[in-house]
């Protein structure tokens, strides 16, 4: 042996490792760092803030700026642009392996906070794979990153409170907004009134968004039936179930709501509650030292994420006192935000007509180009994978899994490593 072997990079050792730099992760980081803990945040985006606080530098709202300021503490390391692809118990601590611009990164900590957020749920229709068709959250993301729509005809569709925000952002970014189609009917939207009455701040926000959209059609009970174009989106056909209209359209931002990102929690072995990670009052999962906060505990929005992130950060730092004044305030905030989240999920539940939209050739799995006609309704998730490759592409079923669940009642297949597509070199220990 003439040369010494490269020294394996030792795992970075911290007190609390946090996955996700959205509101929940940032709140957890601030709380743990303020109690003297060494904190490491791993986040996939190139700039902290998560999806809701995805703003160009300097443009973040005040609540975000306060939490982002805590990242300047020497107690806090932030790794942006890294994807966590594995996690395991090592003696008394947890280890996470991630891949990023600098290659493989391993972090070791006795406490983890899973703040992995949520992704968008899609509801396929003919033409949904055309360039120019994005999710509603996807549209919001590219707009906030600076896309200028230059007067091009743009439609926002799908379901949920996010649609109004996307429409407002699209207008700010030069869209000729054709309208906002909310698949939920008016009769159900009136159910919003008591929910909003209980949350005046949210009601004000809704009113402000309403004013921004004044004069543009907001159509409850309408949805996109199909989209077409030769190499990109050129027109959409919309319907309310009785009437149809076909409109020239260059951009369609269409999403059905959010689904929690459970892959890391499921891989570690966290127990699940109703479609999300189960946690106790201190945000502790079923595993020792593993906390969870925000959308991974069920989709409930930014207020739940902020309260739960702070609780998880305090608990991970050993500083959670359930009898204290702050704890009472946080627990109340969490309860109110969760109640509102549940009410909204019910109001904006998808109508059955959406399930009839895909044609035989409409793709269910965009990674492997698997059409709806290839799926036998009697199959489970595993058979679907084995027989069609649906769910075996780079997104690993993150897009088609919820679609197959919605259309065919399929359950989730087991989580496979690596949790994200990463370069082979990063998979191996040095």
């Amino acid at each position: 042996m003439t040369e010494s072997a490269p020294i394996p990079a030792a795992p970075a050792q911290v007190d609390v490792a946090i996955i996700g730099a959205g509101p929940a992760g940032l709140a957890a980081a601030g709380a743990a760092a303020a109690h003297g803990r060494r904190v490491c945040i791993l986040d996939e985006t190139f700039r902290p803030g998560g999806q809701i606080w995805r703003h160009r530098p300097g443009a973040a709202p005040a609540a975000a700026r306060r939490l982002l300021a805590a990242l300047a503490s020497p107690q806090v390391q932030v790794h942006s642009g890294v994807s966590v692809f594995d996690g395991w118990r090592q003696g008394e601590t947890w280890r996470l392996a991630a891949s990023g611009p600098e290659g493989r990164l391993v972090v070791e900590a006795p406490a983890l906070v899973l703040a992995c957020g949520a992704r968008e749920e899609f509801s396929p229709f003919p033409g949904w794979t055309l360039p120019g068709v994005l999710g509603a959250g996807g549209g919001q993301a590219v707009l906030k990153e600076g896309l200028d729509l230059q007067g091009e005809p743009t439609l926002v569709a799908g379901s949920g409170p996010l649609l109004l925000q996307v429409a407002a952002t699209a207008l700010e970014h030069g869209a000729r907004l054709l309208g906002v189609l909310e698949q939920a009917p008016w009769s159900r939207l009136f159910g919003m009134a008591p929910v909003l009455a209980a949350r005046p701040a949210k009601a004000l926000q809704a009113l402000q968004l309403g004013f921004a959209l004044l004069g543009r059609p907001y159509r409850p009970g309408w949805w996109v039936k199909s989209a077409s174009g030769s190499e990109r989106l050129e027109q959409v056909t919309i319907t309310d179930g009785r009437r149809e209209r076909t409109l020239p359209c260059r951009w369609l931002f269409c999403g059905l709501g959010l689904v929690p990102n459970l892959e890391l929690g499921r891989h570690l072995g966290c127990a699940l509650g109703a479609e999300a990670l189960a946690v106790d009052g201190a945000q502790l999962t079923s595993l020792p030292g593993v906390y969870a906060a925000g959308e991974v505990c069920g989709v409930a929005g930014v207020d739940a994420a902020l309260a739960e992130g702070r609780i998880a950060g305090l608990a991970a730092a050993g500083a959670w006192d359930p009898a204290g004044a702050e704890a009472k305030r946080l627990v109340r905030a969490r309860r109110r935000a969760r109640a509102m989240g549940r009410a909204l999920l019910d109001l904006f539940r998808p109508r059955p007509e959406l399930l009839a939209l895909p044609g035989p050739d409409t793709l269910v799995c965009r990674c492997e180009d698997v059409p709806f006609s290839a799926i036998d309704p009697s199959w489970g998730a595993r058979e679907t994978k084995l027989c069609t490759r649906a769910g075996m592409g780079p997104c690993q079923g993150r897009v088609c899994g919820p679609i197959l669940a919605r259309h065919f009642g399929q359950g989730q297949d087991t989580v496979r490593l690596p949790l994200k597509c990463v370069p082979v070199a990063d998979l191996m220990e040095p």
């Binding site: 994807s83 794979t129 360039p131 959250g137 996807g138 600076g146 200028d148 990109r232 997104c395 993150r398």
Partner: protein, 82 residues
């Protein structure tokens, strides 16, 4: 604060982009709506905008990246179409 702009090369064509901004937005703004071709030959462009769907994957130098998670750097060389 005006953002610094730069030139990147997308399939050899110059595209003006904001330094540190999202590569996916730079491509969309530059009129590049074919980020990749699917296995049956369809053109694909960003869907989720947040690193989940992998529809915006392109090659930067010798690395595959999700364009929506990649910050723009001056003189970046980008190859679309897998």
């Amino acid at each position: 604060m005006p953002e610094e702009s730069c030139i990147i090369l997308v399939d050899g064509q110059p595209v003006t982009a904001a330094v540190g901004g999202s590569l996916a937005v730079a491509l969309l703004q530059g009129g590049h709506l074919r980020f990749r071709e699917s296995c049956s030959g369809e053109h694909r462009a960003p869907l989720c905008g947040m690193g989940t769907c992998y529809e915006c994957r392109v090659r930067v130098g010798d690395r595959w990246v999700r364009a929506c998670l990649e910050p723009v750097r001056d003189k970046m060389e980008v190859a679309t179409h897998d």
